[in-house]
């Protein structure tokens, strides 16, 4: 199959070359010659680790070599879902295995540091879930370890940086589609207790690390990090201050970690972003909004819409674009890669034929880096560190019900 055919027919369109906002990799002549597949181990087989393993298994270039978890129930689940993968209870076993080149760290956040440091020291490529850590010191240690090994791939799990729809909107916003950006807003709403059940009391305590204020950085840290990061990236802003409020409103089961948080993020240029997350209501789920003088852009479920102000200058293409109704507003559907879809004979107004989950796109980029890189990932150690610091400070603001000023030095690796 030649490259043209591969691009036209495959579901495996290389993100780095086809969807990226920047061209990198092979242009530098550093393409690696890898025969066959890369061998990957997933460390941590909780909910997210399961999703990662299932997603990796769909990629022909990946051999899911091993799954690591300290809880035997999770290893039983691993055996059911991925019988070909070895099951280990100690991550050092996969670090000692020279045939495994790559590890994905999906353990509880506060356990990342030691595993990542050991994995990098063992010469492995590392994908570390976001947030990188639960403390600034741990996050900085991870970033420094990654920075010290430029020949090894390190990608942080800031999913939206690899998502083609977000990259497409990145271009829209950076080219001035909003007019002057004036504010941003994002939310994450779900009705659930955030608690995990286990027949074993000690395991139950360990599984409920998100509800332990000693190690958890709460809703804003575990979930808000993705939306803060993508918003600042799209708007090209730096965080300057964060004010937060948090309280237990519904799940009054002895926990101290708030089930509802509201924050105001101050950024460069005076633009402020409002954010709220709750475990008490599922209404309107999750989305990000970017408001400007000429239009507002909404991102939700991996799709984007633009709402134009009536006095905004008309864009040439908007008359041809698909419009979706949102109560009394008409949103212009923003379709990533519309031009290339059109060239492939695919109706850009239809649902995206290359639609995938955000996790797939992130892992796809990570895997391709093994073949086409090494190049700096869209979400490398620096981006991961900065987003993690912001998440940790945001949680501090929530706990204090106050404001934390974010000095630039804080974000220096």
């Amino acid at each position: 199959m030649d490259r043209r055919t591969f691009l036209k027919t495959g579901s495996m369109i290389p993100i780095a070359s086809a969807l990226g906002t920047r061209t990198r990799a092979s242009a530098a002549g550093t393409r690696r010659e890898i025969d066959g597949q890369i061998s990957v181990a997933v460390i941590g087989f909780g909910f997210w680790g399961r999703e990662i393993a299932t997603t990796l298994e769909r990629m022909p270039e990946v051999r899911l070599a091993a799954i690591v978890d300290t809880y035997d129930v999770m290893l039983t689940r691993a055996e059911r879902a991925h019988p070909a993968a070895a099951r280990k209870s100690d991550y050092r076993q996969v670090l000692d295995d020279a045939s495994i080149t790559t590890v994905i760290v999906a353990t509880p956040t506060h356990l990342h540091r030691q595993i990542v440091e050991d994995a990098l020291a063992a010469g492995k490529h590392v994908y570390c879930e976001a947030p990188l850590a639960a403390t600034v010191d741990d996050a900085r240690a991870i970033a420094k370890a990654a920075a010290a090994r430029p020949a090894q791939i390190f990608q942080s799990g800031l999913l939206m940086r690899s998502h083609p729809e977000y990259r497409s909107v990145f271009q829209f916003i950076r080219s001035g589609a909003l007019g002057m950006p004036t504010m941003a807003r994002a939310q994450w709403h779900r009705k659930e207790s955030w608690r995990r059940a286990s027949p074993n009391r000690q395991r139950e305590i360990e599984q409920n690390w998100r509800l332990d204020e000693e190690v958890s950085i709460g809703l804003v840290g575990e979930l808000g990090i993705q939306q803060f990061d993508s918003s600042l990236w799209l708007l090209d802003r730096r965080p300057e201050s964060i004010s937060g409020f948090g309280q237990v409103m519904l799940w009054d089961d002895g926990r101290d970690v708030p089930d509802t948080v509201q924050l105001v993020l101050g950024t460069t240029g005076g633009l402020k972003m409002l954010y709220d997350a709750t475990l008490t209501s599922s209404f309107d789920a999750a989305y990000e909004m970017f408001y400007g003088r000429d239009s507002t852009i909404m991102l939700r479920d991996g799709r984007g819409w633009m709402f134009r102000e009536v006095d905004a200058p008309q864009l040439g293409w908007e008359v041809y674009a698909r419009k979706d109704q949102f109560y009394r507003e008409r949103g212009i559907a923003l379709v990533a890669n519309a031009t290339s879809l059109d060239a492939q004979g695919i109706d850009p107004a239809a649902d995206d034929p290359n639609a995938e989950t955000p996790l797939y796109f992130a892992l796809r980029e990570f895997v391709e880096n093994h073949f086409f890189g090494p190049y700096p990932p869209a979400a490398g150690y620096k981006e991961g560190f900065e987003a993690t610091v912001l998440a940790i400070k945001a949680n501090e603001a929530v706990i204090a019900n106050g404001t934390v000023h974010l000095e630039p030095a804080l974000f220096t690796v």
Partner: protein, 356 residues
């Protein structure tokens, strides 16, 4: 019709009510959770010692169900089913182990039912207007013959060596709607058991049900058929670590001339079933119950299927009727069909199970 589980039948206002049920012994908790997925409402009822722990287990179970929705929905362009329909018509497509296993089971069910259960039946469903859009269409014989080229278990090619799936017709598609609820419920039940939940009942739209352990009264979960089926008598099934699925031709039925077409379609003929009928399957797996309750409607009184899967089948087949009410089996008939299984008929229940 509200779903109803006999063990939980109580008025929240009546004396002795305790956390949702009059049957809960002192110290026991009953927690009910629900989520929307696969176009219907899934509910989990859990009973055990501690409400917060039960809720946590139930949330994980419901989350598993929504994951299956995300994977199997043909309306979500990012789902694995949508990607297969887009991509596997052009060549072998690499899929994960779980999806491969699901499709393998579908092929087994298709072969085991002589094509009465078929996940490739979508083009025919569309042609008959059972997927929205034009609902009064009646395809010609020629159109049906052309569509049947795109349908059948042989259209689906699974290669275990490469872990790939391929659809052998460029316009073929798969639709796991006939088995998705059962798959999700089985997976959710596994998680509940792993969490150590002693008693739980999960249902999807009340048509596919799985019971774990015992109900809050210490007895097997008791589930009864709806009044439309049983008229003035009730069929009550006692379930313990078992699944029950009910399928019927009515519900989304439509009329064309003097013919009443149910929404269940015979993939072998390409035509919807005529008249009214229903089937009930009771077996160890919700997935199997879900798939085979539909197949049994199509097969009618086929002894092949009954023989093949006995004794896990429970089957009820009323004669097709032309009037607006279904022709119903008498309770005695039902008891006879149930002979040899653990099912019972009683007259003190009221219906929860709604045919899909």
């Amino acid at each position: 019709m509200a779903p109803r589980v006999e063990n939980l039948t109580s008025d929240p206002g009546e004396p002795g009510h305790h956390r949702g049920t009059t049957f809960a012994p002192r110290g026991a908790e009953v927690v009910r959770l629900a989520a929307h997925a696969m176009g219907t409402r899934f509910e989990v009822v859990l009973c055990g010692a501690e409400a917060a722990w039960l809720r946590a287990a139930g949330e994980e179970a419901l989350h598993e169900i929504t994951l299956f929705h995300d994977r199997l929905s043909r309306f979500d362009p990012a789902s694995i089913v949508s990607r297969i329909n887009r991509t596997a018509t052009r060549g072998p497509m690499h899929i994960d182990h779980l999806t491969f296993d699901i499709l393998s089971r579908c092929v087994r069910y298709a072969l085991g039912t002589q094509g009465a259960f078929d996940i490739t039946v979508g083009p025919l469903m569309s042609a008959w207007g059972f997927r929205g859009g034009q609902t009064d269409s009646t395809p010609s014989n020629g159109e049906l013959a052309a569509l049947r080229e795109r349908v059948g278990p042989n259209i689906l090619r699974l290669d275990p060596d490469t872990g790939t799936v391929r659809l052998l017709h460029p316009e073929a598609e798969i639709d796991l709607g006939g088995i998705g609820k059962g798959l999700a419920i089985d997976a959710a039940a596994v998680l509940l058991r792993e969490a150590g939940v002693p008693g739980a009942l999960i249902h999807g739209g009340t048509s596919t049900i799985f019971a774990i352990g015992k109900g809050p009264d210490g007895e097997p979960w008791r589930v009864s058929l709806p009044a439309e089926i049983t008229r003035d008598d009730w069929a009550v099934f006692e379930l313990r670590d078992e699944a029950l699925s009910v399928s019927a031709t009515w519900g989304r039925s439509r009329e064309s001339g003097e013919v009443l077409y149910g929404h269940v379609l015979d993939p072998r003929s390409g035509r919807p079933l005529e008249g009214r009928g229903y089937s009930v399957i009771r077996t160890a797996s919700a997935c199997e119950a879900d798939a085979l309750s539909t197949a049994l409607l199509v097969l009618g009184s086929s002894e092949l299927v009954l023989h093949r899967y006995r004794p896990s089948f429970v089957r009820v087949e009323p004669a097709p009727a032309s009037d607006s009410e279904p022709t119903l089996p008498q309770p005695g008939d039902l008891r006879e069909v149930l002979g040899g299984s653990s099912g019972t008929i009683s007259s003190n229940g009221s219906p929860p199970a709604t045919p899909n």
